[in-house]
Each structure stands twice: as structure tokens, then as C-alpha cells.
Symmetry: C2
């Protein structure tokens, strides 16, 4: 695997960001690449305790993830982030910073329709969001700005995890971001 | 250079943490090692904006530096931190976490007497702290808990930068943390 790459997921809660990230981690580990996953919840605990869910606080949280991701990626670590990152301008800002430093930045849109997510509702969060028990819930009571031009889009409400993973790896391979052709 | 090492400076403002860190960065760069310096001010900007200087906020800041340092070090990056990190318990906590993960952790005490620092006062900060223009200033109006048993102690008020650097590198060499004998 080439050095210096960030795989940046964005998408609603439950859209498959963590699942796909973990599959990718496994792929890169099998390939003996250095890989780190910065998951939304873990990062909130370690870097952003005390921050809330206003746009300003969400932006701060995402910028911190971006800072750490860039540090790791520029040292040759395949860095995968799996936070919702709902705001377009901050994603663009981090992408621009990464590219300026010579790090590849791949925005991956985990796209599932809100209806599908509400129906599935694995963690029961959408029910709580719709009833008002959780506030500031992205897609329900807080904005989500989908990418206008993502590098990869995976339709996680209609394709399998393996199909999505393959689509992502194909993209990386076609762009020459994977050294081997595994 | 072996993978997985954190060089953790602690010491008062002006005691030479940044200067020594930068010298070490140069050494490792010349050696073609991957190296990152997490400097106190830079990290405050990127990870801890909004935090103050209470023990609780300082601890949070230092824990964040520790988190990022561990992420980098476990990916083979020589990671140097140069924040004051005034509290013993948090330094010990991070050291324990690092060791548990198989990362070497070297606590380096940049020791200069308060009198020497007040006399030198390169940035004029001690004057302001003593007159009360700056509050919560470590060593003057805020606690500093020096290490009881640092891995390396450099006496920056009586030895030259090059002597201190040599002392640190000798320690690393003797412990087998440097692969080559450069």
C-alpha cells in the first residue's frame, strides 16, 4: 500500500461506516499495511469530551479527527475515519489540507436512505430521535450535507457489505493507491 | 530506530523542551526515521482549543497528547512531546498505557531552576507571571510536580544543548532503543 492516504467516510448514523471501516482494516492488516481506524465514538471520548452537537462543536470534533488523520497518514499509515462528519465545508477543508501535504484523501459516501435506516434502526436510535428523546440527531433533527462529488459512493441500503468493500478497493486500485493488485 | 517509542519531555516553561525536541527531530530525520513532534502550543491549538489551565483541563490536554502520541508510536513513529505536563499522576497514567501497548516510554525531565528561568526569561513570560499579568503560570502561580524517577534528567541551566542531547541519545542507545550505533 502506498503511504499517505486517508479514507474518509461520511454518512448518516447506521449507514455502515463502522462496518465497512472494520472490513477495510482487516483487508489492510492482511496486507501487512499499517492501518488505523478513527471511529466517531472513540474519538469523541479521547479528543472531544465536553463538546456538544452544535455546528461549531461538530466542526471542532471533525477538525481534530482531521488533524490526527493527517499526522498518521503522512507517516505512512492507512488512516480510516468513520465519523458522521455532516458538514460539507469542513470535509472540504480537511481534504484540501491533506492534498496540500501530499496525502491522498478519498471521500467515501456511505449512502442509505433515511427511510431504510429508520426501518432497520439496529440501535433503536432513530426511534428515540423521532420521538424527541434524542435531540440534534443527524438526518432527523440536525443537518446532514451529503457530498456533491464523493470519490466513492456506496449504496449501503441496496448492496451488500462485500459489494461496497469491493467498490472501494476497486476505486483505490484504479487510482493506483494500492501498490499490489491483490 | 526501533518502532514504538515516545520521548516525553516535562519541565517548566523555558526549560528547553522545545529546543531539545527540535534537535532530536533533526537527529531522527537525519537517520531517516519517521518522527513527529507534538509541541505544547501546537497541540493546544489543534486538539484543545477552549480548555483552560485548571488541573482538570490540563489533564485533559495532556491525555489527548498521550492518545495521539500512542497512536503514532504504535505505528513506528518516533514521537516526541514537549508540553509542560506538570502533573505526575497523568504522566504516570500515560506511561502505563504506552507500556501496556508495547510502546517504549522515556520520560525526560528538562530541569532548570526557577531562579535561572526567571533570570533568563527569554519570552518575558516569568516577569508577567510574577507581576500577575499572567495567571496560572506553572512554577509561579500553578503547581509543577517534577518527576521522582525520570528516565533521563537534563540540567538545562548548567549544561549545553549538545550535552543534553547527547545524554538523551546515550540513554536511548544504552537501552537498545536505537537500532544503529550512530
Amino acid at each position: 500500500m502506498s503511504s499517505g492516504i486517508i479514507l474518509w467516510f461520511t454518512g448518516l448514523s447506521g449507514a455502515g461506516k463502522s462496518t465497512l471501516s472494520q472490513e477495510l482494516v482487516r483487508y489492510f492488516e492482511d496486507n501487512n499495511d499499517r492501518v488505523e481506524l478513527l471511529d466517531g465514538d472513540e474519538v469523541r471520548t479521547n479528543l472531544s469530551k465536553g463538546l456538544g452537537f452544535s455546528k461549531e462543536d461538530r466542526d471542532t470534533n471533525i477538525r481534530r479527527i482531521g488533524y490526527v488523520a493527517r499526522l498518521l497518514a503522512r507517516n505512512g499509515v492507512v488512516t480510516i475515519t468513520a465519523a458522521i462528519s455532516p458538514y460539507r465545508d469542513i470535509r472540504e477543508e480537511i481534504k484540501a489540507q491533506a492534498l496540500r501535504e501530499g496525502t491522498h484523501f478519498v471521500e467515501i459516501y456511505a449512502n442509505a436512505s433515511l427511510n431504510a435506516l429508520i426501518e432497520r434502526d439496529v440501535k433503536g436510535l432513530y426511534r428515540k430521535a423521532l420521538s424527541g428523546d434524542i435531540s440534534h440527531f443527524t438526518g432527523v433533527s440536525d443537518p446532514y450535507e451529503h457530498p456533491l462529488n464523493p470519490d466513492v459512493e456506496v449504496k449501503t441500503d441496496s448492496e451488500s457489505v462485500q459489494e461496497s468493500v469491493r467498490r472501494i478497493l476497486n476505486y483505490l486500485h484504479n487510482r493506483g493507491y494500492l501498490e499490489s493488485t491483490t
